[in-house]
Amino acid sequence: MEFKDYYQILGVDKAAGADAVKKAYRKLARKYHPDVSKAADAPQRMAEVNEAYAVLGDAEKRAAYDTVGAQAWAQGARSGDDVRPPPGWNAGYEFTQGGPAGAGASFGGDGADFSEFFEQMFGRAQAGRHPRGGGAQASMRGEDQHARIELALIDAYLGATRQISLRGARLDEHGHVVPEERTLQVSIPKGVKEGQLIRLAGQGSPGFNGGAAGDLLLELHFTPDARWQIDGRDVTQRLRVTPWEAALGAQVPVTTPEGTAVEVTVPAGSGTGRKLRLKGRGIPAPKADATPGDLYLLLETAVPGAITPEQKAAWQALAKAYPGFDPRTAG
């Protein structure tokens, strides 16, 4: 496992003061913000930057980190105590959970994004090695963990299974910090919405000294797909029709996002931009007493090219049949 150079990640000197560290962090947090960053690796860089600030922005953690340094780490040091003589009357390092509030949380997920390096030095198990005041350790509830899941629209219709890897650390029987990666297989029920949260009780970080485990909170997001627009449980999809279907009306076959084939009546005189509603064919309701969403079909008239002489003649005849029609002034 590699030593993480947090100073390099934040672009600050080892002697940088707390203010300089904070300024550097804020600048990078803005640069790699997921909503505005064009960088392909923005989420990873963001996680890296957050972790670096979680350490360098916290006086205790920074002190421990500075003490260990790359060389000591390579030689097996895993905490400040491994390098310094055991602390005397000032009962060791006391790490607060998660670092400066917020810095531990990336925009993507809290805690689950921290590297193995961080977990070895600062993870919850480390907190157990250095109890406050040296007295009996209180039991602590495990921290909640957050993770983000991307779904396709069909997953909201049918439900889906996802595997999630969570990184943490635990103490083994010798009291050593051992990184732990848990992989969970989760069934996502059908009927979920954009931004939906799922709570998996007790699947977060393990508790401490008999404390209950935290929860795992999953945030669900739909991967953008050009075929559909999703708004809550309502879905809008494009329906392309011929000019004669639009003008004369027609029964048109449509495949819903779920894959069901239905026949839709396009009313006569439909123009581009008209919406037809298929009630209840949007994202299903997650429980019996909730309403399913609707499927909206956004009509778009597809105009075929006039290639053959017959086609050209047909269009010209059509134009003749509408001598006064001027779409640039109508409506």
């Binding site: 917020g102 949380a105 925009f107 909640d144 848990r182 969970l184 559909w228």
Partner: protein
């Protein structure tokens, strides 16, 4: 060292939907209940229903927004209204991007 996947039993899976209490919202955002209270009073977060704070129920979309606001406040020492403004803009950008997918 990765163990084989643990299947989470369905009973443990709970869809949080428009029913988060003030305390649950606070817990999910790792803030105090007081933080939630002041932010509702400031108009930065809105409960779906309920008059008294004990009856407030928040949509899970509000939770996403709240976490974003916590993030902004703590990263930038931002005034809550400024954080809310940034969150509003982010939501608007996301909405516009979804609409753009239509073109």
């Amino acid at each position: 060292m990765t163990a084989s996947p643990i299947t989470v039993p369905a009973e443990l899976i709970e869809l949080l939907d428009d029913a988060l209490s003030l305390h649950e919202l606070a817990q999910c955002c790792r803030v105090t209940p007081e933080w939630v209270l002041t932010h509702v009073q400031a108009g930065v977060l809105q409960p779906q229903h309920g008059h008294a704070a004990a009856d407030w129920r928040f949509a899970s979309t509000t939770l996403v927004r709240a976490r974003r606001i916590v993030q902004l406040e703590q990263t930038y020492d931002a005034d809550p209204q400024l954080a809310a403004l940034a969150a509003d803009l982010m939501e608007e950008v996301a909405r516009l991007r979804r609409q753009l997918g239509d073109l």
